[in-house]
């Protein structure tokens, strides 16, 4: 965290000065470790064993069993009490096999890469199918597997085609789950969790992870002691957890632990993803990702296992009768209106058929394999550098040479733009000849942040506006200029087409022309933000779109009148009368001139005091800073403690403290007493009483009791056990990375890897066998404070380049001595994909770890490589991703660059 997010670490240091304990778990001793109270070394890729060990430690601890807080939180707010189908088999039921029930051979398209697939029918809540959208961020559920997600019940009654869709929603109601609030039933989630992790003892943790068990116990005990009614602990992670063939299960494991410790939905708790790009969050919400459309709705799919044939089919498959997802028809119809405008009508299912469907895994890695095989003709590469940042980058660079055309838009002449040119490793090695490469390549120069208006959504879902301060040089244009102009020109070419296949592009709403209103609004907003009024905006270059119209479309408006913006997503309708691209961003621009992202009205003292600063920017949804914050109060609505007070129920309140309006019943208009209030925007129905019990047949949030904080889940509870949503198991389980120095999983002798990960084995993407003596060392890749990702925004800047001017490989002193390698010696690092040279940085910060392979002790050496360099720019070096492989997690298709194996020798 100190390495890659130094300013976020500011707050960690402030907490530490006030007495907070900081624990760092990492294969390498980094700048974060240097500042931590406890540093726990761990073998790369073994975090589930470590976290599972803590879960086991916590459940069996005296404090957890005696402090009533933990039981009260877990019984009320999680699915610990829910009974699971008796046919469910855990990995522990057959210790040797180490698999969940339902494993089958994968029979779909080999390009999707799965080595196996689970049928999750036996993972369900007893007597009721645990429908859940279970699709957020999930490619595995985009229809590439036969696994259940959403509603797959074929016996659903026929419902009339909407709108309105209320009948459809009601038809999806399922019987409630069975509970045992004593947590004693052997098939209740709590007992299953307890059994599942029972062998994750401190000794086992040491044998798998290499972390000395005393250190491990110190970590577990610190967490336990610092969680409770008046204390919270939080976890922060980055790619060290996600880039694994079981990455999502790592996060899931942490969520499980945090729910057990009562740390979710509470101030100072939670799990914080430290993301790496300015709007990586925004580009996930507003998804330039193949598997989802705005606001975490699944992309319509024609792949196996999904019935999305019509709009009704889509809504039937993806709507939940209970939870906030019962509003899915409103989100989807309003989205389709944002695509096709007036052409989208009730009669034509709002243009649903014009919308494309996905047919398999179209994510980064399989797309590059397709490209390599000559099946992709054209590519837009905007602000990304796969020639350096892509896994098995050699393959990715060679794949680029198979394109017919490539458009790169960036600031500097990045490697992806010049893969064909002298200097590229493949051209230098004679593997590619520029004369033979038939790719037509364009480089469009870009504006930088201070040269354009726009917004980023940061890692805490906070959208902030940046104002244009200066003009970009020459033919540099904003990215919006490019895409707007591309669309405008393409639409002109299709304007007279009568082909049905062109209906989608013909009807696409593309109305972002700048007009007089634009400048007026912008200047009004600039005043609000205190920018220099004397230094008003430059004139926009010819052809720039009106960005405020784009934001308006994201926020939503009344279809009949674009100037009537939606105040928030509660105003959405399912009949086409509202237009809104992204329901979760609704409220970001509630009225003309009121661009909430540009709000800069926050008392800095609030953040110093650790309180939400609601006047600064806009955090989706509804400007809420901590999700599921109803859990910051007891089931009865009172705060857990004065120290950890955030949102609570005030039973006597009759007037809204923010709007100053009296509370009234939406249906009857009668006055209401009692509301949720606090320092944050409550994540709960504001007048719902803590003792509310849903009546029979209720849908949406009416179907949740007053004690259910997790409003996006159909049962309103945090899931310790995931009956759906993850395709590789309902509980996290320790498996080895695909490339591992050991031959046998210490926990499950017959199951070394996840049984369902994605593998693309071919001549140009080979893997090392488990325990392969040719590749004895564990490689982990990482980032440095001084550079940014593939280096596009740092390697061309002398001020940053000089700070870390060259690629290096960090090698522990013990290994360096064994290999006769001295500090700054040039060494060769090799994997089955590639072999590169780098200077050695020999250090005692890297230490050997002793683990068990089967029953044998084994010393494992880590080798670490930051991956910022390429052959362009000021600071140069080999491309570290030439070493990594195309291999994927089955849920989201993320690769495994944080743990693989390599050989190191003196060059």
């Amino acid at each position: 965290m100190a390495e890659c997010h130094p300013v976020a670490f500011r707050w960690i240091m402030q907490a530490k000065l006030k007495g907070a304990k900081l624990i760092h778990v990492d294969p390498r001793f980094t700048r974060t470790s240097a500042l931590a109270n406890t540093y726990a070394p761990i073998r790369a890729g073994t975090d589930i064993a470590f976290l599972g060990g803590i879960i086991n430690y916590v459940i069996n601890s005296k404090r957890w069993n005696e402090e009533p807080f933990f039981k009260e939180y877990v019984v009320n707010y999680t699915n610990a009490a829910t009974i699971i189908e008796e046919s469910f088999k855990d990995t522990e039921d057959d210790e040797a096999a180490g698999r969940f029930s339902g494993l089958a051979q994968y029979t779909g398209d080999p390009l999707n890469g799965f080595v196996g697939q689970y049928d999750n029918k036996t993972w369900q809540y007893k007597g009721t199918q645990a429908t859940d959208q279970g699709r957020t961020g999930s490619t595995g559920q985009s229809g590439e597997q036969g696994v259940q997600s959403g509603n797959e019940d074929t016996n659903l009654p026929e419902v009339p085609k909407g709108p309105p869709y209320d009948e459809l929603v009601k038809s999806l109601l399922k019987p409630p789950a069975q509970l045992d609030t004593t947590l004693k039933d052997p098939n209740c989630v709590f007992q299953l969790v307890k059994t599942h992790f029972s062998r994750y003892t401190p000794e086992m943790v040491q044998e798998i992870t290499g972390c000395p068990k005393e250190k491990f116990i110190e970590v577990a005990e610190t967490l336990l002691q610092n969680s409770g009614p008046d204390k919270t602990s939080s976890f922060a992670y980055a790619l060290g957890w996600t880039q694994h063939t079981y990455g999502p299960q790592m996060i899931s494991c942490c969520a499980l632990l945090q729910l057990l410790l009562g740390n979710m939905g509470r101030p100072g708790g939670g799990i914080l993803a430290l993301r790496g790009h300015a709007t990586i969050q925004g580009s996930t919400d507003i998804p330039t990702l193949y598997h989802s459309i705005h606001g975490y709705m699944p992309h319509p799919s024609a792949a196996k296992g999904k019935k999305h044939d019509s709009l009704n089919d889509y809504l039937t498959a993806e709507t939940l009768a209970k939870s906030y997802w019962s509003n899915m028809p409103k989100f989807m119809v309003s989205y389709l209106k944002s695509m096709y405008g007036e052409a989208a009508t009730k009669e034509n299912d709002f243009g649903y058929d014009w919308h494309p469907k996905i047919t398999g895994d179209h994510s980064h890695m399989p797309m590059f394999l397709q490209m390599m095989d000559g099946k992709v003709e054209g590519m837009f590469c905007m602000g990304q550098n796969p020639a350096v940042g892509g896994q098995n980058a050699r393959l990715q660079r060679k794949a680029l040479s198979k394109l017919k055309w490539l458009v790169v838009k960036d600031n500097f002449e990045i490697e992806t733009a010049v893969f064909w040119k002298k200097g590229s490793p493949e051209v230098e090695a004679g593997e590619l000849r520029p004369e033979d490469i038939q790719t037509e390549v364009f480089f469009f120069p870009s504006n930088q942040v201070a040269e354009m208006d726009g917004s980023y959504t940061n890692t805490q879902r906070l959208a902030q506006w940046h104002n244009k301060a200066a003009e970009a040089p020459g033919d540099c244009r904003s990215d919006m200029w490019f895409t707007y102009q591309l669309g405008k020109r393409l639409k002109a070419l299709y304007a007279n087409s009568t082909a049905p296949r062109d209906e989608g592009i013909k009807n696409l709403v593309w109305d972002y022309e700048i007009d007089d209103e634009t400048a007026k609004l912008r200047d009004a907003e600039l005043q609000i933000t205190g920018a220099d009024d004397a230094a008003k905006h430059e004139e926009e270059p010819e052809g720039e779109p009106d960005i405020r119209k784009i934001v308006r479309e994201i926020n939503g408006y009344q279809s009949a009148d674009k100037t009537k913006h939606l105040a928030n997503f509660a105003e959405l309708k399912d009949d086409g009368s509202t237009t809104c691209a992204s329901w979760i961003y609704s409220g970001i621009y509630p009225a003309p001139g009121k661009l909430i992202m540009n709000n800069r009205d926050a008392d800095p003292a609030l953040s110093d005091a650790g309180k939400p600063t609601l006047g600064w920017g806009f955090a989706w949804p509804a400007n809420r800073r901590i999700l599921y914050n109803r859990a910051s109060a007891r089931p009865d609505g009172t705060p857990w403690s004065e120290q950890k007070k955030l949102v609570y129920f005030d039973p006597n309140l009759t007037v809204d403290p923010v709007t100053k309006l009296p509370y009234t019943d939406l249906k009857t208009g009668e006055p209401i007493k009692g509301a949720w209030v606090g320092d944050d925007v409550p994540d709960f129905v504001k007048n719902k009483k803590p003792d509310y019990q849903p009546p029979e047949g209720a849908t949406g949030l009416d179907a949740h009791p007053g004690t259910a904080p997790f409003i996006m889940k159909f049962d309103g509870k945090g899931w310790l056990f995931a009956p759906t949503g993850l395709v590789d198991g309902p509980l996290p389980t320790h498996y080895e990375p695909v490339e591992t120095p050991i031959k046998q999983n210490r926990l499950y002798p017959q199951q070394l890897h996840s049984p369902v990960y994605k593998r693309w084995e071919r001549d140009d993407n080979q893997y090392a066998a488990p325990g392969d003596p040719q590749y004895p060392h564990v490689m982990t890749t990482y980032r440095l404070t001084e550079h940014h990702l593939s280096g596009v925004m740092s390697r061309w800047l002398p001020w940053l380049a000089e700070l870390q001017p060259e690629l290096f490989v960090e090698i522990g002193e013990e290994l360096a001595n064994d290999l006769g390698i001295g500090n700054t010696d040039m060494v060769r690092v090799s994997t089955p994909r590639g072999s590169i040279e780098a200077k050695a940085l020999v250090t005692r910060r890297i230490r050997p770890l002793t683990i068990k392979d089967g029953d044998t002790d084994k010393t494992v050496h880590h080798v670490g490589m930051p991956w910022h360099w390429g052959w362009q720019g000021l600071a140069r070096g080999s491309v570290v991703n030439d070493l990594s492989s195309l291999v994927g997690d089955p849920n989201v298709a993320i690769h495994e660059a944080k743990a693989f194996v390599c050989n190191v020798e003196k060059a």
């Binding site: 100190a2 440095l784 002398p798 000089e802 700070l803 001017p805 200077k839 250090t843 910060r845 230490r847």
Partner: protein, 284 residues
């Protein structure tokens, strides 16, 4: 833009307190300094890896006015149980109370400001290098672009408009703090408090370097260390050049902080007064 001609009022002595125990070695201070002062990278960003931990700028000099040091301390056992420390420290000009550089500067280019900080005036420096050898901390060197001696100005062109120096403003963890040195809310009092806190936490080696007058009369940029000064490359007992005749504060003149010919003449006069044994300004 206009040259300042007014005599600035004397201020409280200001300086830096660098608490190395919260330094994360991010080097924001180095870059913020170069950005504000528009200092080039000596190598244009292209240079070999130093191999010295994560330190690639390696030194303070005419173009590196802030420099972060990295010290790896790990014991010989495989688990590094006895010791596991990675110390980091952002180094800078010490703005000495008895500043050797001021003593030796023949042109009077080096002056003490109204903040009691030490600044080299580039336009009156003749590049004679006397100050370079006079500095016991190796802070000063010739800036190859400007061809004159350069070092940290303690962002005089920021502090005069009420801004704090670029480095301390940027520092994410408040390892570098800027402010008045003395008084109950001054940096020295804060630093003492922090040493106390660390000692209570069992960090017995916590100590201040330069907060009192033992080191060249005191350092207006002082440090909190958790090991011997030598470990951080700081001299235990720095020596001023032999020419030194007394506290350099003797040369201090608020008026000399004013630029332009008048200021310069006045400064030269003071220097002459000084060498004639009549220290002009003993008010400190």
């Amino acid at each position: 833009m206009a040259t300042m001609t007014q005599t600035p009022a004397r201020r409280e002595p200001h300086g830096f307190f660098t608490d190395t125990t919260v330094c994360i070695g991010c080097k924001a201070c180095e870059v913020a300094c170069k950005q504000w002062n528009q200092l080039a990278s000596e190598t244009g960003g292209q240079q070999p890896l130093s191999g010295d931990s994560y330190d690639n700028t390696q030194r303070l000099d005419g173009m590196n006015w802030r420099h972060v040091k990295f010290i790896e301390q790990f014991s010989a056992d495989p688990q590094r149980t006895q010791q596991s420390r990675w110390l980091m420290m952002s180094d800078v000009c010490k703005h000495c109370v008895r500043a050797g550089c001021i003593e030796v500067c023949p042109t009077g280019a080096i002056i003490r400001t109204e903040f009691d900080t030490v600044v080299i005036q580039a336009d009156t420096c003749n590049g004679c290098r006397a100050c370079i050898s006079a500095c016991p901390f190796g802070v000063i060197d010739i800036n190859e672009n400007a061809k004159v001696a350069q070092k940290c100005t303690l962002c005089y062109d920021r502090t005069t408009i009420g801004e704090q120096p670029a480095c301390s403003k940027a520092c994410p963890t408040a390892s570098i703090q800027y402010g008045p040195l003395n008084g109950p809310n001054g940096l020295k009092a804060k630093a003492q408090e922090r040493v106390q806190q660390l000692k209570e936490q069992g960090v017995d080696q916590a100590q201040l370097y330069g907060a009192d007058d033992k080191i060249v009369g005191g350092l207006n940029s002082f440090y909190l260390l958790v090991d011997r000064p030598q470990v951080y490359g700081l001299p235990e007992n720095p020596q001023l050049p032999s020419r030194n005749l007394g506290p350099s504060s003797a040369l201090t003149t608020v008026g000399a902080a004013v630029m332009g010919l008048l200021g310069l003449v006045s400064l030269r006069k003071k220097r002459m007064d000084h060498f004639a044994g009549q220290p002009a300004d003993r008010e400190r």
